[in-house]
Amino acid sequence: MQFWATVLLDGLTYASYLFIVSLGLTIIFGVMKILNVAHGSFYAWGAYTAAFAIGFITDNELSEALFLPAILISAILVGVVLGYVIERFILRKMYNQDIHLIVLATFGVFLIFEDLIIITFGVDPYLPYQPAMMLGWVDIVGLNRGVYQLTLILLASIVAFACWYGLTKTKWGKLLQSVIYDREISVAMGIDVTKVYVVTFIGGAILGALGGAYVAPTTSVSPGFAIDLVVLSFAVVVIGGMGSIPGALIGSLIVGILRAFAVHQAPILELFVVFAVMAIVLIIRPEGLFAPPKPRKI
């Protein structure tokens, strides 16, 4: 019982931040048909920027109430700047190109931004634990957990709700869905696809950065820490179905809980389990569990 509670709680926490990151990835794929390796850069830059901001706040002994706004602003800043730059100067020149080339281009971008991080922030790890300290710890079902970690679950729920609301209840969301469903018809209907793309990409980038920024206080932010996340969020997105938003949710839960289970039960199998599940899902349902419906073209 205790064991399962641990797995569930840790899995849920882990799934939460996977979800935030993967949501960005899957939206970008759904709308633009781009598998964005550079998503890892958003994550890493979000984390570093947040870590830097938190460091700045503590060093100057500013109010602790600034932590949360600092994290959010870091995410938005990174998402808007990096998202715009990458979309405008790399991806826009590549639409209609072979899908593999686009993946490789984003891989190139990812590598460049990895080194830019070292140049900007140095090689020493950052430990922006202050926000987590501030919130302290609680006991739930006999488990001692950081309150900050638990707020991740809250954040993910808010993001999920906002995303659902935005997509189904707003005009913009409906526009987006029509582009996801059939790009050509949307163009024919006079939707400005370029604009949709920029906004989508920046939106996805903000989510990626938010994941990184929010996680920063719970970990040591050091060079290369986005690398594992890139492939893990790929796994999440593939398991759920590339381009599917409910898929990202289910995929994150599956990967998060599986990982938590493996970590507590058989640490040897940690990575193995995640990718084995990914392979199995692909074999049984190549499109992923929740692939969005494809329009039939004759």
Partner: protein, 320 residues
């Protein structure tokens, strides 16, 4: 299958190139350069395999699976059977990877595009996940490999170099023979139109499967030779996803116009790496990333298309 293969221009150029390399390496090259050539040629085999797949518009983001599998097969055979013979090592690496490719091929041959890429990635990460945690395989530290022998004799670095060149020539000639065959021509045909290939009476999946196994064998051989020349195998530099990424990177850097292209590309990659570590050790990733973008945007045919242009330019001048 091989009739008249030596009349083929690509094969002649390849053999000339390799002989020149051998002569150079025995006479003038310093050790570090010789090592670079050796690594480049070994890794070039894997690139050749990826090139084959690329011609059918299949890009494997997990080819390090076979590269690493070949390398670990060599390591395990040394550990448990004491095999150090280079011929056996190469054969074991090729066969082990080929068998794995044959099995996984039954699944992968149904997939195209990004799904093929992702499933390949998943398979390779499964292996990585196992190797990185398996104590008896050295976990993340990997295992070390003792120097190779040949028929019971010790093998000097120089002779290892000759042998690798020899393996490369054999492999490349076989691939060229395949490419000029009917089956090889299906490569591009499948990329153009799968339905037509089926209606011409050949199974597309079978054609892809055959090609997939070949490319697995090549990658396995590459891993085996790499293990033998590095003297070390470990999951992070042999199986992880960034290794696959690197292999794909070298492939598009090389271009896919010719069987020699992968080897030239892989050798150039080794030299870039050596110089990068000397001059700008912090910027290695940025150099690779920048090169990747530059190639995609400015030289979509890779190094080989540049070589071709230079060559044709000279030709045209002569005619005038």
């Amino acid at each position: 299958m091989f009739t008249g293969i030596f009349k083929d221009t690509s094969v002649r150029i390849l053999i000339t190139f390799m002989i020149v390399l051998c002569v150079l390496s025995s006479l003038v090259l310093p050790d570090w350069m010789q090592n670079n050539f050796m690594y480049g040629l070994s890794r070039g085999l894997a690139i050749l395999g990826l090139m084959l797949l690329w011609r059918t518009n299949l890009v494997s983001f997990g080819h390090a699976l076979y590269y690493g599998f070949g390398a670990y097969a060599v390591a395990l055979c040394q550990k448990y059977f004491g095999i150090t013979d280079i011929l056996l090592r190469f054969a074991i690496a090729v066969i082990a990877a080929g068998l794995l490719g044959f099995c996984l091929g039954f699944i992968l041959r149904k997939y195209r595009e990004i799904f093929f890429a992702m499933l390949s990635l998943a398979f390779s990460m499964v292996l990585y996940g196992l190797l990185a945690k398996a104590e008896f395989l050295g976990s993340t530290d990997g295992m070390s490999i003792s120097p190779s022998t040949l028929l019971g004799m010790e093998l000097t670095r120089q002779y290892l170099f000759y042998l690798i060149t020899f393996f490369v020539i054999c492999a490349a000639i076989s691939i060229q023979a395949y490419l000029r065959s009917t089956l090889g021509h299906l490569t591009t045909a499948i990329q153009d139109n799968e339905i037509r290939v089926e209606y011409l009476g050949y199974s597309v999946q079978k054609a892809i499967h055959i090609k997939y196994v070949m490319s697995a064998c090549l990658a396995g051989g590459a891993g085996g030779l790499m293990a033998a020349s590095l003297g070390q195998v470990d999951p992070d530099s042999m199986v992880n996803w960034n290794v696959s990424g690197e292999l794909v990177f070298i492939t598009i850097m090389s271009g896919w116009g010719n069987i020699l292209a992968p080897f030239i590309g892989a050798i150039i990659f080794e030299f870039i790496r050596t110089y990068a570590f000397e001059w700008a050790p912090q910027a290695w990733a940025a150099i690779v990333g920048g090169t990747l973008l530059a190639i995609i945007f400015f030289f979509p045919g890779g190094i080989w298309s540049v070589i071709e242009k230079v060559f044709n330019y000279g030709k045209k001048k002569n005619v005038k």
